[in-house]
């Protein structure tokens, strides 16, 4: 490559790297944060804060004696009567009462149960929603984002001109080091 065309290549490479970097900055942060959140789905709920409050009922009660009045009296005791939606019997021994943003589950046999309250995790709920590809056009946009990341990565290799920190010297070793981890993972985890 002549020195003039190399100069033109480096100039356009810098422009691509810089502008794609700026444009996709926000999306990169969104996907990285939600990626971490969703990676640890087994350890926490990334979308909702869920709290449980153990409760108990004093009287002996059977499925046939559970009425709307009984349900409302129970909810009133826990200040949830204004949030009532519906109740049903998931099985012969329990009753579940739906309330706004949660539910009340009671085991009629043991006379114990719990109130489950659910609220959306601010920020994480929204970014996880985007991570799940809501709608076709977002799917295409996220594909474009992935292509953008590839362009940012490749153009990044050629940002530094020939020096001790360029691709052919420092760069090549760091690239190999970065590839060792996925190769080891394939070797040991597959």
């Amino acid at each position: 490559m002549s020195s003039n065309s190399l100069k033109v290549f480096r100039k356009w490479n810098r422009i691509l790297h810089r502008d794609f970097g700026y444009f996709f900055f926000g999306l990169t942060i969104i996907y990285c944060l939600s990626g971490i959140a969703l990676n640890h789905k087994k350890d926490w709920n990334p979308n909702y804060n869920i709290t449980y409050k153990e409760i108990s009922i004093s009287e002996n009660i059977t499925q046939s004696s559970v009425t709307l009045d009984w349900v409302m009296t129970l909810l009133r005791k826990y200040d949830e009567d204004d949030h009532y939606k519906k109740y049903y019997f998931p099985d012969k021994n329990s009753v579940k009462i739906f309330i706004d943003n949660g539910s009340v589950s009671i085991d009629l046999g043991s006379k114990t149960g719990y109130i489950e309250k659910i609220s959306k995790r601010p920020l994480f709920f929204e970014i996880n929603f985007l991570h799940y590809n809501p709608g076709r056009w977002w799917l295409w946009f996220s594909d474009i984002f992935c292509v953008g990341l590839i362009i940012i990565a490749i153009s990044g290799l050629f940002i530094i001109a020939k020096s001790k920190n360029s691709l052919t010297r420092r760069g090549v070793w760091l690239i190999i080091a970065g590839l060792v981890v996925p190769v080891l993972a394939l070797f040991f985890l597959k």
Binding site: D19, K85, K86, S103
Partner: protein, 201 residues
């Protein structure tokens, strides 16, 4: 100008892909039957609806709180539920639908194949669950599967044995002589909430 050039390309591609997708979203199958069903009538013979577009109404017993990717509907019998999968315009289901009456339009698909491996994993899950008494376990999926195959997972004697469903499935699989039992679910196309006055059942 040069800088703006790149952004123009990006914007043009996004707009182009969006307009080409708009028509796809509205398409429905030419062999769509659009039958309106209750959960119980669907569960009477789910295999009969496989591959068809149906409308089904029921009450939401559970929305998956981890992924939001599935919800479960029940009809007259709360012990029998059908699974609805998110997708298309519904990336996830909002938790607010729990306890609500809704009407779903969707395609019936073979969602799960219950084979020996599936039962082994299920057994391992139960083992973990039994070990941690404080854990609040999401059993909605297994309830839906049991309901569809006519297994009563809620009888008094079964609450004593956490492995009862798995055992019954093993027997059923053996008797069927097939390598697996198919479980059907519905892939959502659209959802409509049916507003009612608060009531029981």
């Amino acid at each position: 100008m040069k800088k703006l050039f790149f952004f123009s390309i990006i914007v043009a591609v996004i707009v182009g892909s969006n307009s080409s997708c708009k028509n796809q979203g509205k398409q429905t199958g030419a062999d769509s039957t659009n039958l309106s069903l209750t959960v119980d009538s669907f569960l009477a013979s789910p295999e009969a609806w496989a591959g068809k577009e149906i409308v089904i109404a029921g009450t939401v017993s559970h929305v998956c709180k981890h992924s939001g990717k599935k919800l479960f509907l029940f009809g007259a019998n709360p012990e029998k539920t059908v699974k609805i999968n998110a997708g298309g315009n519904f990336a996830t289901f909002d938790i607010k639908y729990e306890g609500s009456d809704i009407e779903i339009t969707g395609n019936v698909v073979e969602d799960e194949k219950i084979d020996a491996n599936y039962l082994n994993e299920w057994e391992a899950e139960i083992k973990e669950m039994v070990g941690d008494k404080d854990q609040k376990v999401c059993n909605a999926e297994n309830t839906a599967i049991a309901g569809q195959t006519g297994i009563d997972s809620t009888s008094a004697e079964k609450t004593e044995d956490p492995y009862a469903d798995v055992k019954e499935f093993r027997n059923k699989l053996e008797k069927s002589g097939k390598p697996y039992i198919s479980i059907y679910a519905i892939n959502i196309i659209s959802l409509k909430e049916i507003k009612k006055e608060p009531s029981a059942n």
